[in-house]
Amino acid sequence: MLPIHLEKGFPKLRLDGAKKTSEASIKYNCIAWSATRTKKNWFEPKPTAAWEIWPNGIPDDYSLDSFILIFEKRGYKRCTEKDTSFEFFYKKVAIYAAFGIYGQPQWEFTHVSDQLHSGAWTSKLGKDIDIQHNTPHSLAGDVGDEYGTIFKILKRRCWPWELLARVFFKIKSHF
């Protein structure tokens, strides 16, 4: 079950079969979660506290490219198509953006979610909870609190142990 305020803010989540997977935490955000799976640090380009960090070598200009670069430095490549389907040998992340939200005529980063080995997606919603959802499209939109549009899909080859996990989920899905 999702909290009511999230069902209101993200009306497509319930239809997408989204479920809560952690308690709310102000200590980490979606970037930290999808890039490093940490629950200890909040990734912020201009950190203002010790628990906020920003990776070395990434511009701290809040530009959309800088957020994409975080994942490119981790081996992800930009896809030309916005193909969010499950590919057995690839792990994917979805970068969300919205246009002009800071009053400037440009696309701005709003969110990132990543695909699990089961094929579902995981997202940390700001300072709120983590959720698991079946498609990244359920967080896109502009009705409530959604994150705008899926701006870019990036993918990288899975590591061997990640492939093993995928085999496990594949077998499990047959039972």
């Binding site: 305020h5 999230l6 803010g9 993200f10 102000i26 200590k27 955000n29 979606c30 970037i31 909040w42 912020e44 380009p45 201009k46 203002t48 506290a49 010790a50 628990w51 906020e52 809040y62 919205a98 002009g100 939200i101 800071y102 009053g103 400037q104 980063f109 709003t110 969110h111 990132v112 919603l125 700001g126 300072k127 709120d128 939109g141 502009d142 009705v143 609190d145 959604e146 994150y147 705008g148």
Partner: protein
């Protein structure tokens, strides 16, 4: 998607009331003469808000004298709740700080009333942990928690520090 652009629809008064719209929401906020609207908040994302138009009105401050501490607390709690609900799912603190409600809390409500507002923020921080540290830094022009490694530690340091320093504000 809420548009993070502050549009002043009415007149922002130096003392009295501030009326502005934010997305579909309309704010009508009254304050006393001591709660002057100022736009000189020194924050590095202010540049993002350069298109905001906040003008002092020519109106007199009829509502000014009617605001007391209890009302200030009600106004603060209302704005804090509004800000938390509106920005809780935002992925970046910069975007949360840039929200008009947070700016009102720092610039208009708190700047001239540090002594009254800081205790309210500290209580809010303990009851519903959130990123109030930037507001505290701007209001008090101090940062006693700059060496803190953890969120909870920073909250405790701020509470202790205020107990020692509040008479200086």
């Amino acid at each position: 998607m809420r548009q993070d652009v502050l549009k002043v629809t009415g007149a922002a008064m130096v003392a009295g009331a501030v009326h502005f719209s934010y997305g579909k929401e309309l704010y009508d906020w009254k304050c006393g003469p001591q709660y002057r609207w100022t736009t000189d908040v020194d924050i590095n994302w202010k540049e993002k808000w350069k298109d905001c138009e906040i003008r002092p009105s020519q109106q007199s401050s009829e509502a000014a004298a009617r605001v007391n501490d209890a009302e200030l607390e009600i106004i603060f709690k209302g704005l804090a709740k509004n800000w938390q609900e509106a920005t809780g799912s935002y992925s970046l603190n910069m975007r949360r700080y840039a929200h008009p409600t947070y700016q009102v809390l720092m610039a208009a409500l708190g700047k001239e009333n540090v002594r009254d507002i800081v205790p309210l923020i500290l209580r809010e921080l303990q009851e519903r942990p959130d990123v109030w540290f930037e507001a505290l830094k701007v209001l008090t022009k101090a940062n006693p928690a700059q060496d803190c490694k953890a969120f909870d530690e920073a909250v405790a340091v701020w509470v202790r520090w205020w107990e020692q320093e509040k008479n200086n504000y």
